[in-house]
Amino acid sequence: MGQEETVGVSEHSFTRRTFIKGVIATGATTSSAGYLFRGSSLLGAATYQTATERLITLTVNGQARRVDVLPHETLAMTLRYKLGLTGTKLGCDRAECGACTVLIDGVNQYGCSMLTHQVRGRSVTTIEGLENPDTGELSVVQKAVMEEGGFQCAFCAPGFIMSMEALIAENPNPTREEAAHALSGNLCRCADYHKILNCAMRAAELARAV
């Protein structure tokens, strides 16, 4: 991801421009309000004339979730403020830091830069969805992070972990350079990169052993 325009996946290619166009089309401003959170329906109907359906069903962590979503609402905001999934962090609101990274159909995406309406009919996985829901068993990436004592403040951790999940799914045998490149869309301000990379390499090792 990083500096590229593309923030989408191949089948459903949503570029940043598409994202902004989508926001404009719904009548919100892109300058400041686009990434904010609107929790109530109070002003929605009056301010934003739109034909877009509001009450939609999302598939999040394997569950169908009915949620009232405004047309210009970002996925990160829906997850955090409507579905109670606060593990997805907002570090920058603007595709600069990766703290809000989630998986959309298994591909790591910035939750702050996707409209919630874009993920209808697709599978969303957040940090809360990685454990086995029945046993509480951690994913191999989470196990690797526990083993390696990963992260300092860990505000970036959910985003990094989601990118690691995508990395080992796509490339189960990465070199250190490949892993670093795959994780380069996520920032760690503590700069604990050395340990994070150890976690990623250990995760790949554990995944190969499964």
């Binding site: 990083g2 500096q3 929790g39 962090k89 004592g149 505000f155 490149h181 340990k195």
Partner: protein, 796 residues
């Protein structure tokens, strides 16, 4: 035998929460009826609110209320209020609006009309010193508590020298001299005179300083992003002028602070005050854009440095003048900078002058290695220059100048508890193969030239006299109550290890209690200045000793024999009369009461610890004590950084090929976490010297580099993937544990090693300025006239 804890790699107990999304940072808390506040930020660097019309905003459906400067405690002089009618930097919060959701609040902000009267401003501190230069305040540019406002202007003669690129001879509010610098310079065989600029830069922790608050029955519940916890409760109480014991402060996790959230933040007052006004819980989510303004910044320096050297490379004199960017509310990094220069190069003859100038730029605060990191990044390349002129090895000149155990430094001849800077240099040189790599220095491969650099950086690393507080409860477990913060250093867990070891417990038998003042917190350090590891291993050692004494006394009283004949291991106490489990000991402690279960407390503990200990009394065996171990001298840690880079002479881009960091920080508590601190801090320093940048429009006084992508901290593609670290590992003799702090010193080491390596790859040319961005490097390589003056700050 219970396991050895000090020196072991044990993941902190909060890691599971951090990696499953359960960890609650301030913005993750919710309260019934919670509303959202949004800030109106000043659009000008200095202005006065003439009038405002909020009627349209307040009439909007969903808007709950407004909080203005009139609703918050005003601050006199250059002190920061959480809202102001006279903003002193672009982005300063003027008012806040609360609404049922954030977007409505933001829309309401847009509907507020304010008539601002623009006022004179200054963004470059040196400009404020010019004879007719502007001041950041209408009242002046200097303030003292006794005399109030005044104006400090340097003379036209000073500026004639400055503008000619020479060192001026100005009067300065801060000045000290030791030895006889003039005589020493006369004896020097080499005197270097340099003009050096270090930029200001925003902290940008990953978690912006969002926070939430509500009131119940006169009690404030505050959910805050802060580096410290116990001390933040008192800071918030002070700001709101209320009894600290009427606050429940929750700060379980902090997404980084680096000095910008030492005891919380100024904006943490806003939800508390707003909630009191409107009777609803208030969430203030700070965006990255807002964080750029309200999130604090490291102060930059403009400086003149004169350094004298003897033929053997020994620095024998320093004359240093610093002009510091104090921002609108002041900063004192210059003091540490002067001390650090004297400590690192031990000249014995030094003159130091400094002026911290108010400017209309985002507020300044300590940033990891405050003052020390800047001065090391500025001076290490000059040391290299001296080595080149004297034909010396650059490692050797550092070894010659580094202090030994008998060092005295600064205006008050400060001493150290221990110093192993030379050992750190030697160990690093060996790991890096400094000698073997010399042949690579200056080697060209196509357009790329290899450069090598070393940065040696000290910083304070401890303090004394804090309290420890812990309980052995009837479940037989040890509960260590920590008032320090949880910002990722793992010190909430690691500093408890000495107590667990003293009590013969395995780590699984220890619970760390932290992050919520209602759980009882002892008087702690602010989590800053790398104090915590040193201060709280000592405090927990003291409280652990107190608990151990009580365990033995209870065993002796219960089972017979002398207390001294009893020993602990594996959750049992054993002696001549038999053995008891800790669970039984805890029950006996409650039955015996008095000092054993905390009903009687030591007289010398801090007053702030008493309510916390009283809250826990009667719940088990209490270990509570003040750190009375004492000790003479300041506590300093060191990091020696070694970098190898390739500088592309066609593009100005720096590629870091190798990096090694070695620390002297006493006993190693937690190796893996220490490595993360050493390398992470060095990379932050590399960001400070190279990738981050402050840019201001001098005409309008507004910042351009106000997001992460324009002032980018290093990412995976900016750093070497094979960085290595080491530790000298010699215990500090004045602490029973021997551990010193580590947070601060690596920043200067990373920045300086990088700056020195860049100069090396340019044939020894020191740019004497940060950041070393490709455009600035390239302009020098191509011999172009720089687009900026040599002393200009914040250039784009």
């Amino acid at each position: 035998m219970a396991e050895k804890l000090i020196g072991a790699d044990i993941a902190p107990p909060d890691l599971h929460a951090k990696i499953t999304g359960r960890a609650k940072f301030a913005e993750d808390f919710r309260a019934p009826g919670m509303v959202f506040a949004k800030l109106l930020l000043s659009p000008m660097p200095h202005a006065r609110v003439r009038s405002m019309d909020t009627s349209r905003a307040l009439a909007m459906p969903g808007v709950i209320g407004i909080l203005t400067a009139d609703d918050v405690p005003a601050r006199e002089g250059p002190r920061e209020a959480c809202l102001t009618n006279e903003p002193k930097y672009e982005g300063e919060p003027v008012l806040a609006v609360a609404a049922v959701d954030e977007e409505t609040a933001a829309a309401a902000i847009e509907e507020i009309e304010i008539d601002f009267e623009p006022l004179p401003f200054v963004v470059d501190p040196l400009e404020s010193l010019r004879p007719s230069g502007p001041n950041a305040y209408t009242e002046g540019n200097q303030f003292s508590g006794e005399d109030g406002w005044s104006q400090l202007k340097w003379t036209a003669a000073d500026f004639a020298l400055i503008d000619a690129g020479r060192m001026p001879n100005p009067t300065a509010p801060i000045e000290w001299t030791k030895g006889d610098p003039e005589a020493a310079f006369a004896e020097s065989s080499l005197v270097l005179e340099e003009v050096i600029v270090h930029q200001s830069l925003t902290h940008h922790p990953m978690e912006p300083r969002s926070n939430m608050a509500y009131w119940e029955n006169g009690r404030l519940f505050a959910f805050v992003s802060t580096q410290s916890t116990q001390q933040t409760k008192f800071a918030l109480a002070g700001a709101l002028d209320m009894d600290p014991e009427d606050i429940t402060l929750v700060a379980e996790f902090c997404g980084g602070g680096f000095g910008s959230k030492i005891s919380g933040s100024t904006v943490m007052q806003i939800p508390a005050l707003f909630s009191r006004k409107i009777g609803r819980p208030v969430m203030l989510r700070i965006t990255r854009y807002e964080e750029n303004y309200v999130g604090r910044a490291r102060p930059g320096f403009q400086s003149w440095l004169k350094m004298g050297f003897l033929p053997n490379g020994k620095c024998n004199a320093i004359d240093l003048i610093l002009v510091e960017d104090g921002g609108p509310y002041g900063s004192g990094d210059n003091g540490t900078a002067g001390m650090t220069a004297d400590l690192t190069y031990t000249p014995r003859n030094m003159r130091f002058r400094a002026a911290s100038m108010y400017t209309n730029t985002p507020p300044k605060a300590a940033q990891r290695g405050p003052g020390g990191a800047q001065i090391i990044a500025m001076m290490e390349p000059i040391l290299d220059k001296a080595a080149r002129e004297l034909g010396m090895d650059r490692l050797e000149i550092r070894r010659i100048n580094a202090p030994g155990p008998d060092v005295t430094f600064g205006p008050r001849d400060t001493t150290l508890t221990s110093v192993h800077a030379r050992e750190a240099l030697d160990q690093g040189a060996q790991m890096f193969d400094w000698a073997g790599k010399q042949a690579l220095s200056g080697q060209r491969n196509g357009s790329k030239v290899t450069g090598l650099g070393i940065g040696l950086s000290p910083y304070t690393a401890g303090s004394r006299g804090r309290d420890g507080l812990m309980l052995i409860r009837p479940d037989g477990r040890l509960y260590v109550h920590q008032g320090i913060g949880n910002l990722g250093t793992h010190s909430i867990a690691d500093t408890a290890r000495p107590a667990a070891e003293l009590l013969g417990l395995d780590w699984d038998d220890v619970t760390i209690v932290w992050g919520d003042s209602s759980k009882g917190m002892p008087r702690s350090t602010v989590q800053a200045g790398s104090q915590t590891t040193h201060a709280h291993t000592r405090a927990n050692h003291a409280a652990g000793m107190d608990a151990l004494r009580k365990v033995r006394q209870i065993a002796a009283a219960t089972l017979g024999g002398a207390a001294s004949a009893y020993s602990v291991d594996g959750g049992r106490v054993r002696g001549p009369g038999g053995s008891m489990t800790f669970a039984q000991v805890a029950q006996r402690a409650i039955a015996m009461g008095g000092e054993y279960d905390g009903h009687v407390l030591p007289e010398d503990i801090h007053a702030q610890t008493v309510p916390a200990a009283q809250m826990l009394a009667g719940q088990g065996l209490m270990g509570v004590a003040r750190d009375n171990y004492g000790g003479e001298g300041s506590i300093y840690s060191w990091v020696a950084g070694f970098a190898m880079i390739e500088l592309d002479h066609d593009t100005g881009v720096v590629d870091i090929k190798e990096f090694v960091g070695v620390t002297d920080c006493g006993t190693v508590l937690h190796p893996r976490s220490l490595g993360a601190q050493v390398l992470g801090g060095c990379i932050q320093g590399i960001g400070m010297a190279m990738t981050q940048r402050w840019v201001f429009d001098p005409q309008w006084g507004v910042p351009f580099a106000n997001r992460l992508y324009t002032a980018r901290p290093p990412g995976f593609l900016d750093i070497p993937l094979n960085a290595r670290w080491g530790a000298v590992g010699i215990a500090d003799p004045t602490s029973p544990v021997g551990a010193k702090g580590i947070g601060e010193p690596p920043v200067g080491a990373g920045a300086a090693a990088l700056a020195c390596a860049v100069a090396d790859a340019m044939g020894g040319v020191c740019l004497c300025r940060t950041p070393l961005t490709p455009d600035i490097i390239l302009a020098e390589l191509e011999g172009r006239v720089a687009a900026h003056g040599r002393l200009d700050q914040h250039v784009g």
